[in-house]
């Protein structure tokens, strides 16, 4: 390993300091004396559980639906592909609250899809835990799709043609060759979308509301408590932070380990 050029190490250090110092500031501001009481409160635990569960579910949805979409964008030639890619990017730039408004206009009781859903199946989505998952997925899927598409594009086409000459159809090739080779990028995308889901607030509160136990996720809880007791809000944020990093680490290792060995 040759020495690291200063031209890279210096800005990297600045970046790391910039990202880490605010977190340290947060830890310094945390009211450690009240910390334990705050974080073991029923509401906090409910919100934490809900956040982790919905974020994991939404990550799962992102992968299950987003990976095929990424593959289609990366590998299929069809008219309107560039437009589709543009449209897929849109939820990314929508302020999250507007994302929530858009979801209501599509899936709300009077929405484009929501009304038939309500009339025919009697299903109303808003204010349910499912709505939280939907909101998370809407906001974070583009992160996943863009990362995964990039990773799939980077798979050398020689690998895919080699697979075809060995008798593997497109699906098998995808599963056994393209996906494993793209795995680092796909996993990074899943991390991004999981993290985005965990922190997401605007779309969730707009589309799913803020009912304790069913739709009040940690960010909503934090936001709510920020209105009356900033200390509690900070303590809750620290918990969210620790738990999510723990989930990320274990998720990452399980996933990479599991698929890598497959």
């Amino acid at each position: 390993m040759s020495r690291a050029p200063l031209r890279l190490v210096v800005p990297a250090t600045v970046a790391a300091v910039f990202l880490v110092v605010p977190v340290i500031g947060l830890l310094v501001d945390t009211p450690w004396s009240r910390f334990w009481t705050v974080v073991t409160g029923a509401e906090a635990l409910d919100a934490l559980r809900l956040s982790v569960v919905t974020a994991l579910l939404s990550t799962l949805l992102c992968v299950v639906l987003g990976l095929p979409l990424a593959w289609v964008l990366a590998r299929l030639e069809f008219p309107g592909r560039r437009l589709l890619r543009g449209l897929v990017t849109v939820p990314l730039v929508l302020p999250p609250v507007v994302g929530g408004v858009a979801l209501l206009s599509a899936l709300g009781r009077n929405g484009l899809l929501g009304r038939p859903l309500d009339d025919v199946l009697g299903v109303t989505l808003p204010y349910t835990t499912a709505a939280v998952v939907v909101a998370h997925t809407f906001v974070s899927m583009p992160f996943f799709v863009i990362s995964a598409e990039g990773a799939l594009r980077a798979v050398p086409s020689r690998m895919e043609t080699a697979s075809a000459t060995l008798g593997a159809g497109p699906w098998l090739t995808f599963r056994r060759v393209s996906l494993p080779l793209a795995l680092p990028g796909v996993a990074a995308g899943a991390v991004l979308s999981f993290a985005r889901s965990l922190g997401e607030f605007g779309a969730t509160i707009t589309f799913a509301g803020n009912y304790p136990g069913t739709t009040r996720t940690m960010p909503s809880e934090v936001y709510t408590r920020l209105q009356d007791d900033r200390d509690v809000a900070v303590a809750l944020s620290v918990v969210l932070l620790v738990v999510s990093v723990a989930v990320l680490v274990s998720l990452r290792e399980r996933w990479l380990g599991g698929l890598g060995a497959a």
């Binding site: 020689r158 043609t161 075809a164 000459t165 060995l166 008798g167 593997a168």
Partner: protein
Amino acid sequence: MSESYLDLDVTVRRGEKTLRFSLQADPGETIAVVGPNGAGKSTLLDAVAGTAPTEGSLHVAGQDWRRVPTHRRRVALVHQDHALFPHLSVRANVEYGARARGTGRAEARRRASDLLQLLEVGELAERRPGQLSGGQSQRVALARALATEPEVVLLDEPFAALDVAVAQRLREVLAERLAGFTGVTLLVTHDAVDLFTLADRVLVVEDGAVAQCGTPAEVAALPRTPHAARLVGRNVLHGRATKGRVVLDEGPELVTATPAEGPVLVTFNPSAVTLTTEEPHGSARNRWRTVVRRLVGAGDGATVRAHLGPPTLTVDLTTEAVAELGLHEGGPVWASLKATDVTVQEASA
């Protein structure tokens, strides 16, 4: 519907170039594909495998392969650059094809083990391709291709990175396999040995088209392109023929026994040339004063490369002859060649 087992007449676009191939082959035939770099040999294999966009007609065993996607064509392709899957072990690479075509796990594993053993890389089964040497990876690629049950075997320079002994053994292994094989094999090679040990026919490709197709003996006797001539070890000179004489493009005249007119290719064997230190007075009608350019001894023969104006002659001598003549690099020497030893043909390229 075609009558041959393999019936191919295709054009392939590569960048701005269009390549065109046509070929018929019978069941069990092994065809060596030879030609200079960039002639289109790999492209021909791609056309058969369906991994390059192709126009025209391609039938195998009566089936129109142009309508068959690559993964349903029963081909086995050894890529020139191996194209092993880097994330799978050697064993998994070799099992891949059989598994993809529905062979059971145990059977695929058995077949992979056998082949790896046969190709003398059995102990590398658990390695990743990144942990192999060049020749090891070449052999794994060969094993991977042979593990399927193909109708057409496509081998792109399969012995290129192999050491001499292994190459020789694998030629024999391959010869045995191919003997019992009822499909068609296309074998791209730059090595004349493959022509004579493995091929039933030789397809000479030049500049994106078929320049010649015949048995190895035919091609060896009368190669139609400079590349084929050099491949089989003959000296090749270009010139213009008029009434039994050939004016070489660069260099002296040459007397031949064959009448021809216009641009020609003149070929003769390295052993047909006689070297002497004095001007020769025999029956040989071609004699030139030249200079020894390089002197190369291999085993107990020697090869002399001699300047004939700009063209260079290759001459085979015994080691004793070299010593007797006192040849050394840069030293003068007379070369003579009988007119009857010279083959003249119209220049094709």
